[in-house]
């Protein structure tokens, strides 16, 4: 049994050395090339006397980025992918939490990386990590990796205003990738079309399935997802067979005429995840691509991207709510009530996950980790960790789980996890915003900011863009005399909700 992802890479590079593993519109790299490049990067990092902490990787959506991730692993460290296009203040926050041993980046992002670091952390350029590999040193590093060691740290929205770094082990990742490959029937001749940015959780499939199965991944530029003709041309030209895309991307594309006017010709497997799939959207894809398998996947970053899947076995109705299905092989699902007791079939409960796919926790945040990853309250005889997702679910009579929203103020917006509290604290930090509340109109996919203060909408939008990613900027801003309050002093969210619906 393999104990780390490098064993997959070594095996597949021996078996299929000349096969292209990752390709894009601008470059490609074989399995042998991926191994060689990763080993050179691993050697160069090992020879630099860095600390043991993770290496932050700030690179673009290019094929070279993947051997960079794996090179960090060869050096015996975990990697933390960071989207270089995020606002500087956010990257600073992430780096402060991470406390990396180095930042690996390229010429175009190096100044930004430097500006985001407060301490003397080395900023390394990918193209300067060259030379020969030191096989002895790499061998020693690899032997030192336990399957329970962190492989990556991926950052996600945190309600306190500071992003949370989810640390995931080699073992968790390998269990999930095997489960996914089995369920989607991913084979060596499959060609995956990558949608997710490489720093985002959904990209782990596109990165690691080739290493495990010997298939290949095509990195599709983000801008293609706004140009239906161009995107479908890429899919057809590259003979892409399998997609693991966000519901949000598929929904946007449906509005732009995919697959009705522009139909992918070679895609046979589509897994969608990230938010609730509207029946009307899925129906359109099913009708235009009758030979394609569609799978709804559900799960958070804290459970290695997933928990459950539902293989759609019939043409769905426009208003149909699609179940989230059954757990993958390496997962167990519990539905618990407020007292930590199992709910009865059909009753609502918090979806909790157990099994080897649970994340190690939040990097550098034991308090939050202990709150969300707890002892299974149903198990009194041995230690069994479960993760509380904060999602509400129920078990249907057909044995499939159903999803019923959140128990807190987290929303799914355009495929991203967004904590409304985080937007509020960012807005309150701006000048001339005295009070505010953020609400989400899920039907129209619009974030609303209600605020009291003398700032205008333009000033707020520009100010928020300095600390928050674009998808977290409220599209609608409403200036009020005062924010309504309940007698206990809390914001009166329900009267704001009424206001939002009449606007």
């Amino acid at each position: 049994m393999e104990t780390n992802v490098l064993a997959w890479l070594e095996k597949t590079a021996d078996r299929l050395p000349e096969k292209v593993a990752y390709h894009s519109e601008t470059g490609e790299i074989t399995f042998r090339g991926t191994r060689e490049r990763a080993r050179v990067i691993g050697t160069a990092l090992s020879h630099r006397n860095l600390g043991a902490n993770p290496v932050a990787v700030m690179l673009d959506k290019e094929v070279d980025t993947i051997p960079a991730f794996l090179g960090v692993v060869y050096s015996g460290r975990a990697y933390a992918p960071i989207d270089a296009s995020l606002p500087e203040a956010r990257i600073q926050n992430i780096l402060r939490t991470l406390s990396p041993s180095a930042v690996l980046t390229n010429v175009s992002n190096q100044d930004k990386a430097r500006r985001c670091l407060s301490t003397e952390v080395p900023v390394l350029l990918l193209n300067e990590l060259s030379g020969d590999e030191d096989a002895e040193c790499l061998e020693k590093n690899c032997r030192g990796i336990l399957e329970t060691d962190p492989l990556y740290i991926i950052f996600t929205s945190g309600s306190s205003g500071v992003p949370k770094g989810v640390a995931t082990s080699h073992h968790s990742l390998m269990c999930y990738i095997q489960d996914y490959a089995e369920m989607m029937d991913i084979q060596e001749d499959d060609r995956l079309g990558n949608q997710s940015p490489l720093d985002y959780i959904a990209a782990i499939r596109d990165i690691y399935l080739p290493l495990m199965c010997g298939c290949s991944t095509h990195l599709i530029p983000k801008t293609a997802f706004m140009q239906a003709d161009l995107l479908v041309d890429v899919l057809n030209r590259q003979k892409i067979t399998a997609l693991g895309w966000s519901v949000s991307a598929l929904t946007v594309l449906t509005t732009l005429g995919v697959p009705e006017e522009y139909t992918p010709q070679t895609v046979r497997k589509i897994c969608f995840s990230g938010s609730v799939m509207p029946g009307a959207v899925l129906r359109k894809w099913q009708q235009n691509m009758p030979d394609t398998r569609f799978v709804n996947q559900y799960g958070p970053t804290e459970a290695t991207a997933s928990c459950t899947y539902y293989r759609v076995d019939h043409l769905v109705e426009e208003n149909e709510v699609i179940p989230i299905g059954v757990p993958y092989t390496h997962y167990r699902i519990l539905l618990l009530n407020e007292n930590g007791e199992a709910v009865r079939p059909g009753e609502f409960g918090e979806i909790c996950v157990a099994g080897p796919c649970l994340a190690l926790g939040y990097w550098g945040n034991t308090e939050r980790t202990r709150r969300d990853f707890i002892q299974n309250p149903l198990n009194h005889v041995y230690d069994e960790r479960i993760y509380r997702t904060g999602d509400i679910g129920s078990m249907g009579p057909d044995g499939n789980l159903r999803f019923h929203g959140r128990k807190d103020r987290q929303v799914k917006h355009m495929g991203h996890r967004v904590e409304l509290d985080e937007i509020e604290s960012a807005a309150l930090a701006l000048e001339h915003v005295n009070e505010c509340a953020v609400l989400y109109d899920a039907g129209k996919e619009v974030l609303h900011l209600f605020y009291a203060g003398s700032a205008n909408a333009r000033e707020i939008a520009i100010g928020l863009r300095k600390t928050l990613p674009g998808f977290m900027i409220p599209r609608k801003m409403h200036c009020l005399e005062t924010i309504p309050h309940l007698p206990n002093g809390k914001t009166d969210l329900s009267s704001l909700k009424d206001m939002m619906q009449t606007l």
Partner: protein
């Protein structure tokens, strides 16, 4: 007439993304300045406020990469 179309489109754009200078950018789509949800909001707003319909075949970089291109598209679609 030409002046007002341009102003209307610019107002819509500024409303959606107040942080972008639409009078100078020429790679709104190809350089990834607009996000996909910006583009969808933009299409919906143009259709609502100008009372026109934009077909999927017209949603491409050529027609949406700059303010000028959008003005040309709106004029072409509203004239016919």
């Amino acid at each position: 007439m030409k002046e007002t179309t341009r102003e209307t489109v610019l107002n819509i754009l500024n409303d959606i993304r107040p942080d972008v200078d639409f009078t100078t950018e020429t790679g709104l789509i190809t350089e990834g300045i607009l996000e996909s949800f910006d583009l969808l909001t933009l299409i919906a707003s143009l259709e609502d406020e100008i009372g026109m319909e934009i077909g999927n075949r017209d949603v491409n970089a050529e027609n949406f990469d700059s303010l000028d291109a959008m003005v040309r598209l709106v004029e072409r679609l509203t004239q016919s």
